[in-house]
Symmetry: C2
């Protein structure tokens, strides 16, 4: 029930820092990299480390990939990251795998290789840049939603038994944005959001309660 | 009343593509770059172009920076981007300036140079990666919020006269998330959100109505 992080370059390091900021125990994180120098950094944070090549079955088996709760792939090269994803998907059919790709053309192949989440940093930056021209607070609000600290965070959780039959707008834990009913997304404005059902997954905005929360608006 | 985009590398291109996808007229965009090849691309999209060095006052004056409605700075190097920001801020004290920085250490200097929005692609990717380990829909929802298309978008607008005195939860245009009252952010759960005031700025999630909207959830 650990998190496997393969590739400990800038993106991998940022991801681990954020996981720790969210309260993840570093002993639940296993970092794989080919560079001893990168692994020294990870070890310094308290993470478990393995020096190896994550495109090999053996490496992923050594970190018990089939028992991991999720995997972060950011190998620095899209081809390597996609091969790691294919290898991991083969060994762990239901593992959530998040991959960083740098080239937009590789987003679809990454999904085809079995990634559940595909993140393209440059593409996302472009979206934020464009959004920032239509309002000076947009990018800051997005950053607050994505990051620990600040005032709010985006949360995903299963519906609670006592919420069944109630509208999404009535949940008491946060502001309900979207329901996933099976794989079908239902917006807060849609008829399907008038009555929550067993098995629904809720996306909500919740207030940050962490003591380390700090305002991110200057 | 144009948008100045300085630096037409990957981030700058992604930003312009997104602006066009949001319906911005390409003739309202002025792209500055030192490379004729980059400018050919921008010209192909219908944008105005200027070959020049944006760290020079003259270049920015040539694009009437003092009359621009916003500026996007993504020069590829943090030092260059920050110098451009300083130059632009000097010439246009109230211009909204969004800057891309690649090194976390440069986020604060970028703000000090006068940027209103600072975007670090790698850092943001790390946040999304970490977030994706706590829910498989989190990153997709963030991408939908940030991008045109999909089902929702994040919107920033002034309060309407008929909304004064009403609670944030009663707005009819979308789901109200946050109010900026002056520079002070007020969350949907806070007392200040019970009655909107003149001058409030509202952050809301609205349904995408664009005909080109397409589901982004697979
Ligand atoms: Ca936050
Ligand atoms: Ca959208």
């Amino acid at each position: 029930n650990h998190i496997v992080v393969t590739g400990f370059g800038t993106s991998g390091q940022e991801a681990v820092n954020e996981l720790l900021a969210r309260g993840t125990d570093p002993r639940e994180i296993v970092v794989i990299d080919g560079s001893e120098k990168a692994l020294d950094l990870a070890e310094g944070l308290g993470c478990n480390v393995l020096c190896g090549d994550s495109t090999r079955d053996k490496t992923l088996k050594d970190v018990a990939i089939h028992r991991a709760r999720s995997m972060i792939v950011s190998a620095g090269r899209d081809d390597t990251s996609i091969l790691i994803t294919l290898t991991a998907r083969h060994l762990a059919p239901r593992l959530p795998i998040s991959i960083v790709v740098r080239n937009e053309d590789n987003e679809l192949p990454a999904r085809q290789a079995g990634a559940t989440t595909v993140i393209n940093p440059v593409s996302f930056a472009g979206l934020l840049l464009a959004g920032s021209t239509s309002g000076k607070h947009i990018a800051d609000y997005m950053a607050d939603l994505a990051a620990s600290g600040g005032r709010v965070k985006l949360n995903e959780r299963p519906v609670l038994p006592q919420e069944i039959g109630q509208p999404l707008s009535a949940i008491g834990t946060g502001l309900g944005l979207r329901i996933y009913r099976g794989d079908h997304p239902i917006g807060f404005w849609e008829d399907g959001a008038r009555a929550l059902q067993t098995g629904d997954c809720i996306i909500e905005i919740v207030e940050e309660t962490d003591a380390r929360a700090k305002p991110d608006d200057q």
